[in-house]
């Protein structure tokens, strides 16, 4: 018998956001507003919750805003799909979601500029439990620590 999952009582709920008004209801996406912090620099961003993405992806310009120097990031990555044509390197960033404690996220910092900031399996979905209520155009986010309490 499967263990009963606990409800996400401490979760914060967010609305789906329309990325293209011409698409009507089909244009809504689960974008999570959050803050990225590196050293003394913080950047407010919107991350696309993408359960199919293996990794988090940081667009080039946001990495630059956070003060990362491309040449100093020595761990190179090979990404897949449309991102395969761009170089990518590993960066570690503190992330603050809502009122929750900061967590460390690992990103594939890509040289692509027209890509959304993607929150994927490694390691956003390892740090946060997320429940999608697409029919209500909402999703709920809860850090793993409070979910297991």
């Amino acid at each position: 018998m499967l263990p009963r999952l606990k409800t996400m009582s401490n979760a914060e709920r967010y609305p789906f956001v329309s990325s293209d008004t011409t698409l009507g209801e089909a244009g809504f996406r689960p974008y999570l507003p959050f803050t990225l912090v590196h050293q003394q620099i913080s950047v407010t961003a919107s991350g696309l919750l993408d359960t199919g993405a293996s990794v988090n992806v940081l667009p080039y310009l946001i990495g630059g805003e956070l003060g990362y120097d491309w040449e100093r990031q020595t761990t190179a990555l090979s990404l897949t799909g449309n991102l395969a044509q761009y170089e990518a390197r590993v960066v570690l960033v503190q992330a603050v979601v809502g009122q929750f404690e900061p967590v460390r996220l690992v990103f594939a910092w890509t040289q692509a500029t027209n890509v959304p900031l993607i929150l994927g399996q490694v390691n956003f979905f390892m740090e946060f439990n997320v429940c999608f209520y697409r029919s209500q155009l909402e999703f709920a986010v809860n850090p793993k620590a409070s979910a297991s309490e």
């Binding site: 993408d50 993405a53 293996s54 990794v55 761990t75 799909g81 460390r104 990103f107 959304p116 993607i118």
Partner: protein
């Protein structure tokens, strides 16, 4: 814009015609959804699916950083 005249006309329809109108509208809506994706255009998919090597490398960097924090 839906006019009062149209509503009145719809209200006067018999039961079978009302069902027909309902099916017609549902079919129209479904067709519009299909039309959102235009043939001949390319739509980039940015998701790094199955990027298992990258995921493994990133987890190793993350674990190394955590280990360093505890030292």
């Amino acid at each position: 814009m839906v006019s009062a005249e149209l509503i009145s006309t719809l209200r006067d329809l018999n039961r079978a015609d009302k069902f027909y109108i309902m099916q017609f509208l549902i079919s129209e809506l479904a067709q519009q959804e299909t039309d959102l994706v235009k043939s001949g255009l390319s739509y980039p998919v940015w998701s790094p699916y199955d990027a298992t090597e990258a995921a493994d490398t990133m987890l190793k960097v993350l674990h190394a950083a955590k280990t360093q924090d505890h030292e």
